[in-house]
Symmetry: C2
Amino acid sequence: MDKKLLEEINHLHAQVCGGLSDPKRIAMLYALAEGPKSVMELAETLAAPQPTISRHLKILRERGMVIAKREGANIIYTLGDKRIIRALDLLREVLADHLNKRSALAEAIA
Amino acid sequence: MDKKLLEEINHLHAQVCGGLSDPKRIAMLYALAEGPKSVMELAETLAAPQPTISRHLKILRERGMVIAKREGANIIYTLGDKRIIRALDLLREVLADHLNKRSALAEAIA
DNA sequence: TATACATATTCGCATTTGCGAATATATCAA
DNA sequence: TTGATATATTCGCAAATGCGAATATGTATA
């Protein structure tokens, strides 16, 4: 594959990963993993103002990570791909292992 | 679990994900998936200046995503956890599917 | 010790990101 | 049409991020 093309792919890849690099978006994706939700429901679940939720949803939408469907006055959001949750779970395991190693080190010193 | 604690975990989770949200870091992680490499080797592989590589390595190191080991004058970096690559692969699949849907739509219009 | 080589860090700067507040748009119901 | 409700967007700003250039640190070797 072309060098330039590879860089472009990594750029898009990074954008998808960037969709996960915010605590609220992570919480939103896990919430949607439980089932479709309206913007208001998400705002309630996350205890965050509606405009904030909408802005984050836009970011996820642009990356195909959530899907919007209008239902009357509401807009129902659905998780775009279950593999997103699998990736999140894997990375949470990585985090857990790292924290365990760190705290094991800390105890060894004390 | 406590609300505040959950937020703190999501924050750390987001930091790990943030480690993936840069094209160069993605390229570096895939390069390290092939085997351990020194900073210079990484700089060559990515065709990027050494200080840039070192700065990105610091970010990955802080998140436990790579491990540094000194060998004489060199410092050899190793992938910290293979699950990172699995997560990256999953997200690349998500990207591919999204792009396919998009281009299918584009063709349907044309 | 002096010199070369490998890696890390700092600085100044431009870009991006997330947020609150305010406002716009869309849909339904009376 | 008017009002109420749900969602999206814009604006100004503060904080975070990435980068090139320069410099510092650490290690081996002569």
